[in-house]
């Protein structure tokens, strides 16, 4: 059963002090899945993603990566993270490096590739996101949409098995949202396994094949987009959708 699963989240809980943010979360990610995680602000979506990348340590539960529990395993967090890419809401490009260096540093220092191979690989992904003309620019010289596209290329350049996105378009001006979503849609079409926290309901509905709705730290509703969006059974999901339709 484990063979065709990349990630399994089992009974995952997370508390900050006495504040329980995630409660008994269960879901799986298969290769090629594009999973959208939606839900109200504060429902624990970012925390869930950060737990999956071990940027937060879960309070209890298991996260299985190809069947191996990476929470219980001591050490090796860095090696695991190199296989799970992450794209942040605030881009977080390395400010001291050029666009190209941002995309090669991980390959050279973490994956120990030689510089030429790393550059070649980086150029391939920078081309995919349409940022090749800017390889010599520093992050401060780029627009938000460009930064996010570089951040995606940086994550891709590590050849990850799964890519996590935490609201990749929320910090962008409306006219730049499209360019980033286009790149993400391309990746989805090419079969990249993605886990996307998003407020872009159109993306969740049209691009992903699996939708997880979170409410107050639990999964309120989960399933195929048609089912979740057209026939939601959870009253909170109904309410959540109604608010979106009004906007």
């Amino acid at each position: 059963m484990n063979d065709n699963l990349i990630l399994e989240v089992r009974h995952l809980s997370k508390s900050f002090g006495s504040h329980q943010v995630l409660r008994d979360i269960d879901f799986v990610v298969r290769p090629g899945d594009v999973t959208s995680i939606i839900g109200a602000s504060g429902s624990g979506k970012s925390t869930l993603l950060r737990c999956i990348n071990l940027l937060e340590t879960p309070t209890s539960g298991e996260i299985l990566f190809h069947g191996e529990d990476i929470v219980a395993r001591k050490g090796g967090a860095a090696a695991y993270r190199s296989k799970v890419g992450m794209v942040f809401q605030s881009f977080n490009l390395f400010n001291n490096m050029t666009v190209l260096a941002n995309c090669t540093v991980g390959q050279v220092k973490v994956l120990k590739k030689d510089k030429a191979t790393a550059k070649e690989n980086a150029m391939r992904y920078l081309e995919k996101v349409g940022m090749t003309p800017y390889i010599n620019a520093k992050p401060r010289q780029l627009s938000g949409g460009q930064k996010q596209r570089v951040a995606i290329a940086r994550a891709l350049a590590m050849d990850p098995e799964v890519l996590l996105f935490d609201e990749p378009t929320s910090a962008l001006d409306p006219e730049m949202v499209g360019e980033v979503l286009t790149v993400m849609q391309t990746l989805a079409n090419e079969g990249m396994t993605m886990l996307v926290v998003t407020h872009e309901m159109a993306f969740a509905r049209d691009v992903s094949n699996h939708v997880v709705f979170m409410a107050d730290g639990v999964i309120g509703e989960e399933g195929e987009p048609e089912q979740v969006f057209l026939n939601p059974s959870n009253p909170r999901m109904v309410e959540f959708l109604a608010r979106f339709r009004q906007q």
Partner: protein, 310 residues
């Protein structure tokens, strides 16, 4: 009244000339000794400061094992004591304390040279100040930088080396410059352990000539030119570290033959918008260039002014 002033000025010229004639070589040696000590001590002090800063920021949570937590706790307390003691006592006394303290306790073991003793004391002092600055420098860097470094699989050491320290170094450069300038001046207390720096030459010269003011005038000029040159070099270094304000847009025809050939089934090529963006950036580059040129002429004017004053 005015006449006496001019007479005194003329007299000063004569006195300076005669002092310089006798002690010129020693003033120059003093300058050399001062600047060597100041530069080396600043460098070593910065390294000490960075080491303390790194030790102070090793992440350690309740999840870590007890040994690591205890060791880190002890390290932090030791650094705290070091910083407080050396920031909180006069350097001139520390010099006496350490220079005479070593043979007092060991009897036969002495400092190999006054220079080494002076270097140790000034470095340790600089380190104490830098430790706090470095901690602040690390804290000033967006935690997002650390997170994204971790997210691509970097270890703590790699994150520090390739992401945090280079950025902290830039933030701290003005502070490092301050320390260098302070050290150029404050190494003057090292005469107390007979290190032959610039101020000790003054003491030797006036002991023989009693020409206090002329010698002081020479010393003032010498110290001021050293600190001025130091601060000009540091400004230049800051500019250099910032890199150029503009960058070359790489012509994708040359470097990547295939770029732009990819077309998205729905949205078309991401290069559809590229030409528009490229234009925008050409424009921004132009602005940046103009701004840089006007800044450059500003700097030019300023240094002309300074030369005029002297």
């Amino acid at each position: 009244m005015l006449q006496t002033f001019f007479q005194q000025c003329a007299q000063l010229g004569i006195d300076i000339t005669s002092t310089w004639a006798r002690y010129g070589g020693q003033y120059l040696t003093g300058m050399y000794n001062t600047i060597t000590l100041a530069i080396l001590a600043t460098l070593i002090g910065c390294i000490i400061g960075f080491i303390c800063g790194i030790l102070n920021t090793i992440p350690c949570g309740p999840g870590d094992n007890i040994v690591k937590r205890v060791v880190l706790r002890i390290i932090r307390v030791v650094i705290r004591i070091y910083v407080e003691v050396f920031r909180g006592t006069p350097m001139i006394l520390q010099a006496v304390f350490i220079y005479y303290g070593l043979p007092y306790f060991t009897g036969s073991v002495r400092w190999p040279s006054v220079f080494i003793a002076a270097l140790v004391i000034v470095s340790i002092n600089t380190g104490a100040y830098m430790a706090e600055s470095v901690r602040g420098g690390f804290l000033s860097i967006d935690p997002g930088q650390t997170e994204s470094a971790k997210a691509i699989g970097m270890t703590h050491v790699q994150t520090m080396l390739y992401v945090i320290i280079p950025q902290a170094l830039r933030v701290l450069l003005p502070q490092i410059g301050n320390n260098l300038i302070i050290n150029i001046k404050d190494t003057s207390v090292m005469f107390i352990i007979s290190y032959g720096e610039l101020f000790s030459v003054h003491r030797a010269a006036v002991g023989a000539t009693y020409l206090y003011f002329p010698s002081a005038a020479i010393e003032m000029t010498a110290y001021f030119s050293m600190t001025l040159i130091a601060s000009l070099i540091l400004r230049w270094l800051e500019k250099r570290m910032d890199g150029s304000d503009n960058y070359e847009l790489v012509n994708e025809d040359q470097l990547v033959g295939a770029a732009g050939t990819y077309t998205h089934p729905v949205k078309g090529s991401p290069y559809d918008e590229h030409s528009k963006e490229a234009q925008k950036f050409q424009q921004q580059r132009q602005w940046a260039e103009n701004r840089k040129n006007s800044e450059a002429s500003d700097v030019g004017n300023r240094s002309l002014d300074q030369r005029g004053e002297r």
